[in-house]
Amino acid sequence: MVTINAIIDIAPQLARGLSVTVSVLLASAIFAYLMAFIAGLSRLSKNTFIRKFTGLYVEVFRGTSLIVQLFWLYYAIPMLFGIQLGSNWWIGVIAIGLNYGAYLSEVVRGSILSVAKGQTEAATALNMSSFQRMRLIIFPQAVRMMLPEFSNYTIQMLKGTSLVSLIGMTDILYYGDIIRSTNLSQAPLVYLLVLVFYFILALPLIWLTRKGETISKKGVAS
């Protein structure tokens, strides 16, 4: 069978891009989560400047496309300011992290705000400080509500990593493009295999999303 042979031929080449895709995903996810909590909490700050400043970050990064942000960091900023932000791996991670961090910060903010007001009041009646109220009562409940959205966005982030091939990174899609350009007749098969690769990578994330939904249903609603 020609197809089987072709698959055996193509799959290992695509697999060479796995480490880039996975490492960019992991690093940018961690960075995005970090940004999400920092920005999400900052938007609830009493300090107007902090609130407005993070608001600007969130709106700019949500309001423009990831690919443009990637090109800005990769091409425009080094030319304009003469600073190199790091290798293209780092630039990919920073762009994806900042972009999804902006989306996720809204999830963090919304979850914290949606914890019932009675919870804060009960904590106040027990004489907790505002920090204790956040740490012991509000935050743990908010995090449970965030879980499903966080895993949802992580799946999107996986898909977003494929953009790094545009700044010369050798991820799965990059190798797919290479194979196709040397052997045009196999384009359908190559891209089918690319799809399969991404889908297999997404499977654990899909499973986590389900898990997150169950946990978040259990943990709240008194």
Binding site: A116, G118, Q119, E121, A122, A123, T124, A125, L126, N127, M128, S129, S130, Q132, L136, I137, P140, Q141, R144, G219, V220, A221, S222
Partner: protein, 256 residues
Amino acid sequence: MSEPIVKFQDVHKSFGDIKVLKGINLDIKPAEKVAVIGPSGSGKTTIIRMLMTLEEPTSGDIIVDSTNLWKMEKKGKMVKANEKHLRQVRGDIGMVFQHFNLFPHMTILENCMTAPIHVKKENKEEVRERAIQMLDRVGLGDKLNNYPSQLSGGQKQRVAMARALVMRPKIMLFDEVTSALDPELVGEVLEVIRDIAKHDDMAMVLVTHEMDFALDIADKVLFLDEGVIAEQGTASQVIEHSTNERLQGFLHRFRR
């Protein structure tokens, strides 16, 4: 006569343009049990929420244990209390809410242990022992590791009481704690309050529509109407012998 533990002095409260309380004067002695009755919207909840520091009075003074609750001295002037001042006074006061407000992510034992451990920095083992005792007392000693979502409304409300009592407040506030419950669960909750009222020596303020219950445990009953205390006295004076027409009309609706 001992000094009052709580004093309201000409306390007013407005929400926007709506004047809810128009000059409340009130003394509560240590260990005194005060029942607050009155039509819906008359400001009963607002009174105890101001005492719990959940709502700030528009004017007037609330004195708790000789300290002004909402004001503090700064460079010889009385200014609005900051969070630190509020926390110092608030420790004397505990509250049970109409809708329980248990912490859903914690077991009922954890619900009762968190504040003493983190707020009062008490020894964890001592707190655990005291919390278990208290949960036993309210009849929930066999549910320590259950989550609130696994309990009935009456059980939740009893946990809420244990949670407040473990903090050993000098003043306990109850805001219509049975009105969110199915009728058949009201009795068990009132029974626990009765037990606390008879055996503990803290002051209690109870907003309630249970007139027989008020007659049984209250040393003093206030009838709140149109933003003022329209009538006050012993339970029997207010509930059984008052001639105030609006009060009689109100009572009539509750004792068919």
